[in-house]
């Protein structure tokens, strides 16, 4: 469960988040929409403690995120899977190694890694690209590898920050379908998007943000409305 209580984030007099209150239940698929600078990405960054909130309380799976010490942050991040618009794959590691890295940081043994990685590569449909480096992959393939990395350790929560922002129509569709499938397996997904088709196709809870505030919360069958 994710819980925000009066969360604010200020950057040099500019309020990125303004007294946000929000509750996301386990297994929900939440799409966050809004114009650039509305605070969508900041909200996700605060969830992984990439940014520290200026005030307010955040709980992720009972962890008090704002109060975490520096050396405890990696443990929070290992509970959450994150997918980014620019993929953020390690350029000098192969697809296999990029995915394996998320398990290595958890201390998973080599035999388990050798077993799990091909399985998740199969889920994202890239078992034949295991030993390719990121620069040898298309944008869609890169994003699927990134999703595989985010999923490999079976996190309860998957954050996707504009995951289709750099993809063509077909890949956008594929990735959206993949995310919906992952959600059906029980993973909570928080997605930010500018893409009307994507949000409408998902058709689940939709939050609209404006100037750091949540201005609309469509609990079911949400549509892309700004």
């Amino acid at each position: 469960m994710i819980f925000f209580e009066n969360v604010s984030k200020t950057y040099d007099n500019c309020k990125a988040l303004d007294e946000v209150n929000l509750e996301i239940k386990d297994g929900e698929f939440v799409s966050i929409i809004g114009s650039s600078g509305a605070g969508k990405s900041t909200l996700l960054k605060i969830l992984t403690r990439e940014e520290k909130p200026t005030s307010g309380k955040i709980l992720v799976d009972e962890i008090d995120v704002a109060e975490l010490k520096e050396n405890e942050i990696p443990y929070l991040r290992r509970k959450i899977g994150t997918v980014f618009q620019d993929f953020k794959l390690l350029a000098n590691k192969t697809a296999f190694e990029n995915i394996a890295f998320a398990l290595e940081v958890l201390g998973v043994s080599e035999p388990d890694i050798a077993k799990d990685v091909p399985r998740v590569l199969k889920i994202v449909g890239l078992e034949d690209k295991a030993f390719n480096f990121p620069q040898q992959l298309s944008a869609g393939e890169k994003q699927r590898i990134a999703i595989a990395r985010a999923l490999i350790h079976r996190p309860k929560i998957l954050l996707a920050d504009e995951p289709t922002g750099n993809l063509d129509l077909l890949n956008t569709y594929e990735i959206t379908k993949l995310l919906v499938k992952i959600n059906e397996f029980g993973t909570t997904i928080v997605l930010t998007s500018h893409n009307r088709e994507v949000v409408n196709a998902i058709g689940k809870r939709v939050l609209t943000m404006e100037k750091g505030k949540i201005t609309k919360d469509q609990q079911e069958k949400g549509r892309y409305i700004i």
Binding site: T48, N71, R77, T82, K88, L89, L90, E104, V105, R149
Partner: protein, 302 residues
Amino acid sequence: MKDSTKRIIKSGWTNFRRNSWLSFGTTGVMTLSLLVLIGLIASNASLQGISSSLKEKVDVSAYFKFEATEDQILEIKSQLELMSQVKTIAYISEEQALAIFKERHKSDELIQSALDELGNNPLQASLSIKAKDPNQYVDIVNFLEGTEFNGLIEKVNYYENEKVISKIDSLSKGLNTGGALIALILAIISILIAFNTIRLTIYSQRQEIEIMRLVGASNWQIQGPYIMEGSIYGIIAGLISLAISYPIILLVSPKIHTLVPDLNLFNYFVSYIGQIIGLVIISGIALGIISSIIAIRRYLKK
């Protein structure tokens, strides 16, 4: 723990291999730094050789009157041997002095015939004394002049040599301090260059570091492979610099030997080979590791 150490070593090695151009450049710069270090060892050895061979040429001789008996001279010798400043003493009897003199002038017939005509030995017995340090001759001469046997001593040739001795002393001191100063400056410059190269290498990896942090890697999991990579740079640079310097020393050594006959640079390196290899490789590794730790620290904060 064992698994994670293995992972860090493997990952460090893989990074090294895959960033081949970067690794090549960094290792190259570190090799140059370590070559400077080897050069410093060689020049230090040469300077020490020059300064000690200069010192070696200095001695004082005390010449004894003809009435001094051998026992008395040997008594003075044994008293001198008790002095901490004295390095060696050689007793040259009248006969030995004559033999040496004859040998030295054996081609000069005039001197030979003059000696024959003289009949008896005109040369005095002497003690040839070497001090551990040139500035200690004053103590030795003072001792000789203060002893009860002073009456037996004809002359001590120190006062004639005094100026030369003090010049040699200050020259060899100058060589040592000047050499150390230049060595220090060069060492600092080469350390800074190597450090900066590793800093740039890690700077080029800052995005990777950021990604690792976002995926939940701990500081050690991020830092470990880079430190490992740094030590690989060090080991390889150490080996290359040793391999490069070997033929150079082999080539240069005879030339230095003709300049400073007491110094054989190649033998010097061979006799300290273990220490030199150890020093070069350990300096390389330390340089790699310390530079990596300092360079990566700023990307781990936040």
